[in-house]
Amino acid sequence: MSTQTVLFDAPGPRARRRYAVLTAFGILLALVTLGAVLWKLNAQGQLTGDLWKPLIDPEVWTSYVIPGLINTLKAAIVSIIAAMAFGIVFGLGRLSHNGAVRWFCGIIVEFFRAVPVLLMMYFLFQLFAFNNVFVASLNSFMAVVIALTLYNGSVIAELVRSGVHGLPSGQGEAGLSIGLTPGQTLRSIQLPQALTAMLPALVSQVVVILKDSALGTAITYPELLQSMRDMGTAYATVLPAYLLAAVIFIGLNFGLTMLAGRVERRLNRRGRGPRPGPATAASVMDDADAMSAGPRS
């Protein structure tokens, strides 16, 4: 990180002493936090082995953890694929030369980006339930998937748009000059490059989808968080159940982020990585029009 060298010099003797004090303070802070948590856990009788034993019970894994994880992944993967398709279609729609198409896609994208995902989930779930749109067991799944698709698809549409805008204008001009139509230029020249450039931002959106699938618990979709809560109730081990859910979610998302970093470094080595255009994750955050890479739950 560049800031590390920017903000301070190589420390002299006094600074080194101060750093040593701060290091001790940091370690102390960590230990005190840990100690306070353990003390509180102990005071409430949460540290007895019986409470944590269900975590290594194979039955817990086969009947709660694994099914929950599968449901989470199912909802997330379907949403990711659908959101990418939605994002590419509407992102290209916003770049269309037809004014009506551009406006229509613009309104859809801006609307779904402004509405909270959970609000959409509640609405879709009740809508499906009242009108018997799907089989009863499918209602919550479809509500989760459609809400995640509409929101994240709109965000991806913005990424596609800013990715194409970030390309050098010569790319589009070259396409037009060899006789491709504007649509062909967009599809076969600009879009592939934009997709490569927006890869990091795209992966952070995938993490958002995976995290947001946990909202399904609010509409009784039996995903990981919901099944861990059920397990917490069934075995009277609420805290360990939440902790296990957190560990699994953090592991999945952290792994995804690591993978994205590796892919990005690889693309950079091949000289095809994200250009310093408006499509990298950092500059999308700076781009006030693309309120996208922000924190979704």
Binding site: T23, A214, M285, D289, M291, S297
Partner: protein, 225 residues
């Protein structure tokens, strides 16, 4: 639709959304600034602690943090944020834990926004600050952070908008904000598009000015280089 709305207090629900947003924004800004300072400090241990906080919080679903705060910390560990004898203690406790969860969650994003702001400050600024003899704390307070905050305005704006929308998650622990009221209306009446659009419009009204204000602020306050 009007007769439905006359029976429910939509404005009160949105007022709760606004209050959740305001208090959590303040909390997230405070925690996020502290963590951001830790993450750019010269002390490796503090840097590591800050990084752990951000990576853990950012990769955990807000829904999980919400449940964990109220059910795990509040009820099981008996950490009380409200006077147990007050008649509204159950309601208030849910609201306060929701604010804590929202603050803790968004602090990670505030921290990253500020750090990206620090990255916009050119090396020369920090070098100049050090060469006139300012300490790390002084150069951070007087030179780096004022510029970093300005560079961080746009991402902070996105974080605030996301926070506004994320207050809906507080409904999973029973806080009576806008989305919870919408759910109640749907359950009692029917899932109508008009009610949904009304609530969606409410969020658009809340978030649109924030976006406009922060965009113009970030343009106006941008450090001329």
């Amino acid at each position: 639709m009007l007769d439905i709305l006359s029976r429910y207090d939509v404005l009160a629900a949105f007022w709760m959304t606004i209050r959740l947003t305001l208090f959590s924004a303040i909390g997230a800004l405070v925690i996020g600034t502290v963590v951001a300072v830790m993450r750019v400090s010269p002390v490796p241990v503090l840097r590591r602690l800050g990084a752990i906080y951000v990576n853990v919080v950012r990769n955990t679903p807000l829904t999980l943090i919400m449940f964990f705060a109220l059910a795990g910390v509040g009820i099981i560990l008996q950490v009380n944020l409200v006077d147990q004898s007050s008649p509204t203690s159950v309601r208030d406790s849910a609201i306060r834990w929701a604010i804590v969860a929202l603050s803790v969650y968004h602090a990670a994003f505030v921290c990253e926004a500020l750090r990206s702001g620090v990255n916009t400050v050119p090396v020369g600024q920090a070098e100049a600050a050090r060469s006139i003899g300012l300490t790390f704390g002084q150069s951070l307070r007087e030179v780096i952070l004022p510029q970093a905050f300005r560079g961080a305005i746009a991402p902070l704006g996105s974080t605030l908008i996301a926070l506004t929308k994320n207050t809906t998650v507080a409904s999973v622990i029973g806080v009576a904000e806008a989305s919870a009221l919408m759910k109640v209306i749907f359950e009692n009446e029917t899932a109508s598009f008009s009610v949904f659009f009304l609530f969606a419009l409410g969020f658009v009204i809340l978030t649109l000015p924030v976006g406009v204000i922060f965009t113009s602020l970030s343009r106006r306050l941008a450090v001329k280089r």
